[in-house]
């Protein structure tokens, strides 16, 4: 069948099962926007391309399907560099289609030309510059294959205008249905080595103080159910990193919650005192380990990862298992179920863990009606008045940590945040993408005032496209996390962290973007505002919660310190 490159591109996306594109057109990508009119694919027109990128990420986090972005050349492409990097660090499957100047003009500094593949090389899993129209269908197939297999990640396809422009003879191609991918250098291993599985099982059987250290890879591998089986079979406690919140239910008796810089005392300390860490799809990130030479010094390591380069990158494992997490965990479950879980008595360890949980729960000083609103209290009230499967997307800062700490995640894929890159402005577009992917679920963005001002314009997109997300703005009128560091580590010298209390007027701004908006100044107004927000179903809602500015996130491992030097909240410090 004869086609032009633009039609072939859209057809190839349809064949990949793409149901939505997040994007914004411009000169170089114009020819591809024309066939979108005749396609069944929904296009969501964003207000800034960064928003499109984070929407695609939110969509992918929530659904497990790759998010797709389409933007023009030059500034359109550079505007998605941040989301690409974000997706790269958090292993989010995503495909970005960028327009490019005509092939013959590449290298001439043509209007809106930039070296997109060069710029994005280090922030993508792979990228392509397509030279011929005939290569479009195969390249799209390859892009989706790479984005979604092995360790997932973002893949960018740069499309010169002439090969998609129906007026240009270079765009003509013969469509065939049987294109095959041709990637001789790409074949991710997914099967676990049975010898390594037995070796890991032996370590598990012998361990006195084992901990399952669970990272985002569990979610990417759709392995939450397998994890639960492994934990329940062995009775081993689970910590879920920032990227893995929800992979194991917070209410489960074996769940210790989040480890790391702002993890809770028990999760951090259990890892420190452990004699066996079973790392599943986790990468020993510095935010989890603290000072590396002081991290879990007595622990042997079993490390399961699908990316060989993670095995031994930071901490040398005693048993390395190169595998998809689900495959490896299922194999471990079979091995332990058939050959026994070992007879080590872990009673003493369990009572130590219980003791930490009793003595050092997450805590903050509560306030009474009429007083300031504590941000943690807002999260607790939201948690208690929304369905269990509500999706929460957060920005980056103190509010992110409180959301992760005080929410109770009961289901996988209900927590969406920017972990590796820590991108302020992530939450609103990510929440929009998640809601597009899961229209039947309630989606709340927990945002900070600094973050909100970076991507709030996407609420216009949400209104116009009828994507009814809800935003809880924890407005402390500060770049709060930076303020906290200046208070604790820079002798209370506050440099460039104060955001105005009066401008913008968030309520008026949100209303001008078509949202229902409320402002909440005191604790007794919180419940009613949340109830009102939960009832809105036809447009986005924003609640401006005026929260205590001086509140700090605890516990905290100061940057560069060992996890053994965790600071708990001031009210618990005398017990430490």
């Amino acid at each position: 069948m004869k086609m032009d490159g633009g039609q072939a591109l859209i057809r190839a996306l349809e064949l990949e099962g793409v149901d939505v594109l997040f994007g914004l057109p411009g000169g170089a990508i114009l020819p591809v926007y024309d066939p979108i009119i005749d396609s069944s694919i929904r296009h969501i027109l964003v207000r800034h391309e960064q928003g499109a990128g984070h929407m695609a990420e939110g969509y992918a986090h929530a659904t497990g399907r790759p998010g797709v972005v389409m933007v023009t050349s030059g500034p359109g492409a550079t505007n998605i560099v941040t989301p690409l990097c974000d997706a790269h660090l958090d292993s989010v499957p995503m495909v970005a289609i960028t327009g490019q100047v005509p092939f013959a003009a590449i290298g001439t500094d043509a209007f809106q030309e930039c070296d997109t593949t060069g710029i994005t090389q280090s922030v993508t899993k792979h990228n392509f510059l397509v030279a011929e129209a005939q290569d479009i269908p195969r390249t799209i197939k390859e892009a989706f294959h790479i984005a979604t297999t092995g360790r997932p990640g973002p893949v960018l396809v740069d499309i010169p205008k002439d090969i998609v422009d129906p007026d240009n003879p270079r765009s003509a191609l013969e469509w065939t249905d049987d294109v095959e991918i041709d990637l001789p250098g790409y074949s991710p291993q997914t099967d676990a080595d049975p010898v390594a599985i037995v070796a890991a099982a032996d370590l598990i059987r012998a361990a006195e103080r084992p901990v399952l250290y669970v990272g985002g890879g569990i979610l990417k591998a759709r392995a939450a159910e397998a994890l639960r089986q492994l934990a329940e079979l062995t009775g081993i406690h689970v910590v879920t990193t920032l990227m893995a919140r929800g992979a194991f239910p917070d209410s489960h008796e074996l769940c210790l919650g989040m480890p790391g810089m702002h993890g809770n005392f028990t999760a951090v300390t259990a890892m420190q005192e452990s004699d066996l860490l079973i790392a599943l799809g986790a990468r020993f990130d510095d935010r989890v380990t603290g000072r590396l030479d002081g991290f879990a010094q007595g622990a042997k390591i079993v490390h399961v990862d699908i990316d060989a380069a993670e095995l031994g990158k930071v901490r040398r494992p005693d048993v390395a298992i190169l595998s998809d997490c689900r495959v490896a965990i299922e194999a471990l479950v079979v091995e332990l179920a058939s050959n026994g879980i070992g007879g080590v008595n872990r009673g003493a360890w369990r009572s130590r863990v219980n003791g930490w949980q009793e003595n050092f729960p997450l805590s903050y000083e509560r306030t009474q009606g009429g007083d300031e609103i504590k941000p943690q209290m807002v999260i607790e009230k939201l948690r208690d008045s929304t369905p269990d499967d509500t999706i929460v997307a957060s920005g980056v800062g103190q509010h992110q940590m409180w959301a992760s700490q005080y929410w109770s995640f009961e289901h996988p894929y209900t927590w969406i945040n920017s972990g590796g890159l820590g991108t302020m402005g992530f939450s609103i577009p990510a929440a929009i993408g998640a809601k597009v992917g899961c229209p039947d679920k309630m989606v709340w963005a927990v945002d900070g005032d600094g973050c909100f001002q970076m991507t709030a314009q996407e609420l216009v997109t949400a209104t116009v496209e009828k994507i009814p997300i809800k935003v809880a703005l924890l407005n402390n009128s500060y770049l709060g996390m930076v303020r906290q560091w200046q208070e604790m580590f820079y002798g209370e010298r506050y440099s460039e962290v104060s955001l105005s209390k009066d401008v913008p007027d968030y309520k008026a701004w949100a209303e001008s973007m078509g949202c229902v908006a409320m402002r909440v100044d005191s604790p007794e107004e919180i419940d009613a505002a949340i109830t009102n927000a939960n009832e809105v179903d036809d447009r986005p809602v924003v609640i401006d919660f005026r929260v205590a500015a001086a509140e700090k996130v605890y516990p905290m491992v100061p940057s560069g310190a060992s996890n053994s030097d965790l600071l708990v909240s001031p009210s618990q410090q005398d017990q430490q």
């Binding site: 593949t117 060069g118 090389q121 899993k125 510059l129 990637l183 250098g185 990316d307 031994g312």
Partner: protein, 179 residues
């Protein structure tokens, strides 16, 4: 019979202490692949000592011989990260003691008529060739294990090196040492 490999003649030279290691990387012959390799090296802080690229007998692939500095990163990480590049098809690690390594040097040295005989004699002993003779200078070439090239370069200093170009090493595994 194999010629002596790099480490065989290197004695106390840098190849022998294994700070440097040779990787033979087969890559897809596509535009931008070399940029991906070098971007990876710089982004991850892997230092490279030399890099040589050429097509192979199969036109779909090129072969990159890269000498990596193991003081900058562990070999295992370097190989694993390289392997993640989609265009990298195969990586062979050549242990310095088990490979034939060669490098080509062409060099112009100042040598008037009075010193030519002596220079040519030394060149003959090293197995090099005279490429061109000028009034006060000679252009020479030498192929050999990198360590021998190092030694010869050192020796030429007393004459005065006007211009020098080395290719970086290429390597193949010794015969009968493959698994």
């Amino acid at each position: 019979m194999n010629e002596q490999s790099g480490s065989g003649s290197a004695g106390q030279h840098r190849v022998a202490d294994y700070r440097y290691h040779t990787l033979v990387v087969t890559v897809e012959n596509k535009s931008g692949v070399l940029a991906r390799l070098s971007a990876l090296f710089s982004r991850r802080g892997f230092n490279i000592e030399s890099l040589a690229v050429a097509p192979t007998d199969d036109e779909r692939f090129s072969r990159v011989t890269v000498v990596v500095d193991l003081e900058s990163a562990p070999l295992e990480q370097i190989i694993k990260q390289l392997d993640k590049l989609v265009n990298v098809v195969n990586i062979r690690e050549l242990h310095p003691g088990h490979a034939v390594e060669r490098e080509l040097m062409i060099v112009t040295v100042s040598a008037g008529p009075d010193r030519r005989d002596e220079l040519v004699e030394q060149l003959d002993r090293a197995g090099g060739k005279v490429l061109s003779v000028g009034a006060d200078a000679m252009m020479l070439s030498l192929v050999g294990p990198p360590a021998r090239i190092d030694e010869f370069e050192e020796l030429l200093r007393q004459y005065g090196i006007i211009e020098l170009q080395r290719t970086g090493r290429v390597a193949l595994a010794n015969l009968d040492e493959d698994d």
